[in-house]
């Protein structure tokens, strides 16, 4: 059955209910946004293991950390902007420094939040989460991958940050695809350059690859669902195989997936790199489709970056 485009938050919300049926150690805290994050699916099934702590993000994280010490897998949930920014010190101290089994799962990442505008569009979460010791960072590309990621982080001890989308994303992975934390998935094989993308940008990357293929340019496409620990082997091998890389993320150009790939290249195998992302600006109100165009996050932007990086490769 063909799945229609679905927000990745739905994948999280549905999977945590499935997991909750067999794992009685799952608990969820929320900053009164469970309707939006889809944590409410869990609330409906397991009200005794769900805590809406009100609009108190610091408390949402700190309480989850305390709960985790009693043997629980504690999910702290809200919008990405609110938990990663407002409760940053709680994520740093309570969750990461204390290495608690807390999963910070946030919806409303990126400009595809849409009409609510800049205050609700988190564009810096990868950057500020990945610099924290003990933290692992995940951004699933579609609904199916969000379900697998939810399962994987539940079954892996320690702090995680996972960003989900409000916007429906096309289904580009398959049920049978593997999901291993820290192991990127190759979606297309190619020789002229590699696009490494995460989240909504994976489908844009595939579209770019298809269009360039028609022009005779062969692209490898990698879904880097785990931004930390980033798949070093995949990055280095892609650099060796294709000699040029483009990253694509719904995030600031600084500090996120592109920066992470640049670090790996700089340390292990320098080669030309172009980064597609938001260029040091806040979001705006508009439809997700309008905003993707406005902020340069479309397949066409990736195509421009690929052509540029191939020119640089040829030097």
């Amino acid at each position: 059955m063909e799945l229609k485009p679905t927000p990745t938050r739905d994948g999280f919300g549905e999977e945590i209910v499935t997991l909750g049926k067999t794992n009685s150690n799952i608990v969820v805290t929320s900053g009164d946004l469970e309707d939006a994050t889809r944590a409410e699916y869990f609330k409906k099934e397991f009200p005794e293991r769900f805590f809406n702590l009100g609009i108190t993000e610091q408390d949402v994280v700190g309480t989850a950390a305390g709960l985790s010490t009693m043997g629980y897998v504690a999910f702290a949930t809200s919008f990405a902007v609110f938990l990663t920014n407002r409760a940053y010190d709680m994520i740093r101290m309570d969750v990461c420094y204390n290495n608690c089994n807390v999963k910070v799962v946030c919806s409303h990442g990126g400009v595809t939040v849409g009409e609510d505008g800049a205050s609700a569009q988190c564009l810096e979460d990868f950057a500020i989460m990945r610099v924290l010791p003990n933290m692992k960072v995940i951004c699933p590309a579609d609904y199916l991958e969000a379900k697998k990621a939810t399962r994987a982080i539940t079954n892996t001890f320690g702090p995680f940050y996972m960003r989900t989308s409000r916007a429906p994303l096309p289904i580009i992975t398959k049920e049978e695809d593997s999901f291993v934390i820290g192991k990127a998935n190759v979606l297309r094989k190619g020789t002229d350059a590699t696009i490494i993308a995460c989240g909504v940008m994976v489908s844009e990357a595939l579209s770019a690859a298809d269009k360039l293929n028609a022009e005779g340019i062969s692209l490898k496409v990698v879904n880097m669902h785990t931004i930390k620990p980033v798949d070093v082997e995949m990055i280095v091998n892609s650099a060796k195989e294709t000699g040029a890389l483009v990253t694509a993320e719904e995030h600031q150009m600084a500090g996120g997936l592109g920066s992470s790939v640049a670090e790996v290249l700089g340390l292990h195998y320098p080669c030309p790199l172009e980064i597609v992302g938001v260029k040091d600006s806040f979001g705006e109100s508009g439809s997700p489709a309008q905003l993707m165009v406005h902020f340069g996050l479309k397949d066409t932007n990736i195509i421009d970056a690929v052509k540029k990086v191939i020119r640089r490769k040829k030097g």
Partner: protein, 273 residues
């Protein structure tokens, strides 16, 4: 439950030992926080010596009461307490703040008996609530104590957590505010007034016990009241003196985070009888 009896005189003698250990430990490190450690001596002593259900030889015992030190900078009094109660050898106090030591500058779970790494203020109460909620779900009956500074409760996160404790009727949570009236740069109530502190906590739905935080007997009675309180969390406002027991440190913000030199240590130890 009949309250246990308590030998006040022996506790007073122990308080002197604690203060000596705190001062020697901070002097040895050349840095640290003596002011808020000295003010909290009787709080820690009465908590560990009278109230707490714990096994120092088995610090991870499942049924233990939890102590969350939210004002993590008072590591000197915390480590002194744990060492004196046998969690680790007293000799180790000499390693305080030294490279490679377990005794980190702010309390750390590397040290047996420490439940939570702190040092950034306003974190402990949410964490304590989380433990208490988890314990309730697990059917555990242990208590969770959270020790906070008075300056610390200027942090908004404390009040987020205070609402949670009351909302969920966490009567196994006992917060203790070391109300020593002085913070890093001056008197607390000149910097940002906490008063009326008792009615502030009461209005947040807490059982408030206002006591002399240097009176072993008063603290004992406060813990006894907490033990029989149901349906709401308890906060003990422990009225104390910053730098208590040392004439040149008492009430002085300068001694919030400064070590005495050798001469000052000698004078201080001479005052402790």
């Amino acid at each position: 439950m009949t309250p246990k009896s308590i030998d006040i005189e022996s506790f007073k003698k122990k308080a002197v030992i604690f203060r000596r250990d705190i001062l020697e430990t901070v002097e040895g490190a050349g840095s640290g926080h003596p002011g808020g450690s000295l003010s909290a001596v009787e709080i820690f002593l009465t908590l560990y010596g009278y109230q707490l259900n714990h096994k120092p030889q088995e610090p991870k015992w499942e049924e233990r009461d939890r102590v969350i030190v939210s004002k993590g900078h008072v590591s000197p009094v915390v480590y002194t307490t744990l060492a004196n109660f046998g969690y680790f050898p007293k000799e180790e106090l000499k390693t305080f703040r030294k490279f490679g030591a377990r005794l980190q500058g702010h309390v750390h779970t590397k040290v047996p008996g420490v439940e939570f790494n702190t040092g950034s203020l306003g974190h402990g109460l949410s964490f304590a609530n989380g433990i208490a909620l988890g314990a309730r779900m697990r059917g555990k009956d242990f208590k969770v104590y959270c020790i906070m500074g008075d300056g610390e409760i200027q942090e908004g996160s404390v009040w987020e957590a205070a609402m949670t404790s009351a909302h969920y009727k966490l009567d196994h949570v006992c917060a203790i505010v070391d109300y020593n009236k002085v913070q890093e740069n001056g008197p607390t109530n000149e910097i940002k007034n906490l008063e009326p502190l008792v009615s502030k906590w009461a209005s947040f739905g807490w059982n408030v016990i206002d006591v002399d935080g240097h009176s072993i007997d008063a603290l004992k009675n406060a813990f006894d009241k907490f033990s029989v309180t149901t349906g709401k969390p308890t906060v003990i406002i422990a009225n104390t003196i910053k730098g208590k027991g040392i004439s040149f440190m008492e009430g002085k913000s300068a001694w919030h985070g400064k070590a005495p030199n050798k001469e000052q240590l000698a004078q201080a130890l001479g005052e402790l009888k």
